[in-house]
Amino acid sequence: MNFSFDVIWHNLPYMLAAARWTLLISVGGMAISLVWGVFLCAARISRGPFLSRIAALYISFFRGVPLLVQLLIFYYMLPHVGLDLPAVAAAILAVGMCSAAYTAEILRGALQTIPRGQTEAALALGIPTLSLWRRILVPQAIRIGLPSLTNELILLVKVSSLASVVGIGELTRISQNITGETYRPLEIYVAAAAIYFLINVILSALGRLAENRLLVG
């Protein structure tokens, strides 16, 4: 087999440029996923049957429908109801809102390990719900759920490749295109994998760092 580094070297700049889109969508998606995920989780376990039902429905929808379809809906169907999002916005929103469903479930699982006594202590002191979540519950849930959350964020980076269906030339797409011209899929895909790997390894390192810091308590 003649593995050609030249091909990689030659196309790397274009792949890196495409990786910027991957990064943009990923980071935007992560922000939405984490923030929206916390609220979803709170709604999901709230006492109010209405809120919790809605959240359950949301989670079931966004986990149940393939992201590809969600993206197509965001980009190709929303215009029919008068909401014409630019492609990048649609991609970030779709990726983030879908990932939030998973994040919410991860947090819900983690919250169950926090002994009830801790919430009771906060209630007895009169700590407001928002502070209870922000200061007591979420930090600990994140601490427990961090490896799973890192998993989810890494999956999010990878799934950002679906943004190509709304015309964004992100890393996977551009790699495929280059392959279509060079007929060297192995080389190009290995290079693409390396770029994804780089992004994800940074994420993963950040996750471990946070985990080590949070685990002190």
Binding site: G117, Q118, A122, L123, A124, L125, P128, S131, Q140
Partner: protein, 266 residues
């Protein structure tokens, strides 16, 4: 009862009952706590002491009867027969701000240091600026002799130290009523003395206290009245002298105190 003051009791408990599934943890408890009074709850393990405390600040939604704080019904929207509607979170929070609690299992927040555990509510409930809250929290920790451990996480504290953080966390909030669930169980006699001192001082400053304890010496020393619970019922409630006096009327109380007396009259 009612021999301490004629004004309205700060806590009124009327026909309180509480079930866990089909286990009756509290039945038909009627009890008043007066302003600035120290009421000790004693009784065998499993008699419902913690449950009673937890009903007072509605950590357990009691199912029968009423608990009132300064005349205001705790937890439920209306008195009367079930089904009743619970108060909104916000209303309940307002009520609970007047009631401090030290838990039997401490319930410290493991991801916050001792100091942060104490300061947390000062900042987020009292709304104190951070610096001021820290000063206050340090003062509270000093009261329970724990200044040198303020930076430790709960997992790195001894049992007694954890208990003292829990006490500091509650007293720093200066509530009008304090509920203590065995606040000295993990403390050595010397510290018990110190905590006792702190409690006496709080009592002198007008705080009302309900204290669950297994230390009869402690109860005898600090209580204005002692209530004896058994099997979820209030057996008796009287000044300590009547309870700890040589032979109290109630044979059950008598039996309960027997071993204690034997052991402590060395």
């Amino acid at each position: 009862m009612g021999d301490i003051t004629t004004e309205q009791p700060i806590i009124e408990i009327r026909n309180l009952s509480k079930h866990f599934d089909d286990f009756e943890a509290l039945r038909d408890i009627t009890l008043d706590v007066h302003r600035s009074e120290v009421l000790c709850l004693i009784g065998p393990s499993g008699s419902g002491k913690s449950t009673l405390l937890r009903c007072i600040n509605f950590l357990e939604a009691y199912d029968g009867g009423e608990v009132r704080l300064e005349g205001e019904l705790i937890g439920w929207k209306s008195a009367g027969a079930p089904p009743r509607k619970p108060l909104s979170g916000e209303a309940l929070r307002r009520q609970r701000q007047h009631i401090g609690m030290v838990f039997q299992q401490f319930n410290l927040w493991p991801h916050l240091t001792a100091l942060e555990n104490v300061a947390e509510a000062l900042i987020h409930v009292k709304g104190l600026p951070k610096a001021e809250a820290m000063t206050k929290a340090r003062a509270a920790l000093a009261k329970v002799n724990l200044s040198d451990k303020e930076a430790n996480f709960p997992a790195n504290l001894s049992g007694g130290q954890q208990q003292r953080v829990a006490i500091a966390r509650a007293i720093a909030m200066e509530p009008s009523v304090m509920l203590f669930d065995e606040p000295t169980s993990a403390l050595d006699p010397e510290l018990v003395g110190e905590v006792l001192g702190v409690m006496k001082q709080m009592a002198a400053e007008g705080m009302t206290m309900v204290v669950v304890t297994h230390e009869m010496g402690f109860a005898a020393h600090v209580a204005d009245r002692v209530a004896f619970l058994e099997g979820g019922r209030l057996v008796t409630c009287a000044p300590p002298a009547d309870i700890f006096g040589r032979e109290p009327d109630d044979p059950r109380v008598n039996a309960f105190l027997k071993t204690y007396r034997e052991r402590n009259v060395v």
